[in-house]
Symmetry: D2
Amino acid sequence: MSRERYVHWTPQAVRWGDMDALGHVNNVAYFVYCESARMAFFAALELESYSEGGRQGPALVSASCTFRQQVRHPATLEVGVRVARIGGRSFTLDYGLYRRGEEEPVAEGSSVVVWIDYAAGKALPLPTKLRSALEARAPR
Amino acid sequence: MSRERYVHWTPQAVRWGDMDALGHVNNVAYFVYCESARMAFFAALELESYSEGGRQGPALVSASCTFRQQVRHPATLEVGVRVARIGGRSFTLDYGLYRRGEEEPVAEGSSVVVWIDYAAGKALPLPTKLRSALEARAPR
Amino acid sequence: MSRERYVHWTPQAVRWGDMDALGHVNNVAYFVYCESARMAFFAALELESYSEGGRQGPALVSASCTFRQQVRHPATLEVGVRVARIGGRSFTLDYGLYRRGEEEPVAEGSSVVVWIDYAAGKALPLPTKLRSALEARAPR
Amino acid sequence: MSRERYVHWTPQAVRWGDMDALGHVNNVAYFVYCESARMAFFAALELESYSEGGRQGPALVSASCTFRQQVRHPATLEVGVRVARIGGRSFTLDYGLYRRGEEEPVAEGSSVVVWIDYAAGKALPLPTKLRSALEARAPR
């Protein structure tokens, strides 16, 4: 997916320790990069303002990633986020991970986030304002 | 998926540090647990014996996980592995992560593994003996 | 330091992902192993029962480790803990990390733990019962 | 120790996942930050040019860190490195971790690095040019 599809970007410096015994960035590190991008996107959305004092909030239902190119330290990746789907009680974020100045992603990820009542552990409808904020950032 | 579908099991002790700021096991840790189970399964298959002196071997193409229940430290998970698909140059492993003594998984994962020539970075046909070893462990 | 000096033991299975690009267990992983042992020791001491409803508790002031032997996956380490010092508001724990069946440690660690009031961020005198519990486990 | 004592600086963006279940950056993450700074310092020293084709190189003997202030995500730390000691076969690096724009460190670390023959696993005298490069960066 091309870079222009993504609406929010977070830089992620690859750490030496992100590499594994095969000498390249371990698959697990890509999920850390996506998490960092997701948290930065949530901050940009001011997600906490919809938490009803911390009683509601996002929970990760699933995560996936496709690894297209090997990466080695040192490197800085740019992680793009897009809103791929908005449902009644959940939404899907897609991620594109790119080296600076490159057009082909090194990896592409996706995750489903559900809005839950933490105490009850049950899904809730997305708050109206959150839905609007997501829609404003979703592709048409 | 029920436990009997899995053909290889690896215990994974949850570490205190696997928890995140939300006080439960972080999504990234599940991919570590699946990796540990995959590596133990590869060792059981004697995968290294097919590596032509380290020139060929497995590379992860994609990974995914669905999170069904929250887990907190202390806990020990049992990670089951099954061969879900055997292709010409790749195969798919599925994972089921369970608490001891429980029948409902806390998470389910999957990953696609391609057999590559490391120097050329190109996919190779699965070695015949590896294919046989995988088929012997695949469900009928 | 010989094994009999340690009063509490925690097994730690080395994960494949604990290895770094040099093909051995990364230095950072040893601090994770010591943390796991410390948390298990705290649980054995029932440390939470002294927390005054979560308002007080332990905070790490410093940590150190000396690496004596390289370790590679697969391996299981046994991490011994001893109470090396009991002060007015803090105590020191020492750790010995051994391979099963071996007498020479692969690493030795130490950490200083202070008892604090979390809201005030200030050190408090060790609760009397915690002091007694530590003394009962300290070498004579 | 004041900032001007350090001769090499590496920025380290705190990742959300660096926080633990207590809601602040976990002690283990500081050792990752120091490792990142050490590797960047080694690159600046062109350490690999002394490796005799990868047969010799640095090995970590010990690491320590004192934690002075709690850190939460989001934050970017600046990690300073100084050459604290140059011995015959080893040297000591000290680290200072600071928030941007602050003069009081959030943590201070140290590590002893020995120069070894990897195959033999034995310490070697520091290469003359490496010694000179270290001395050029050591405080007078």
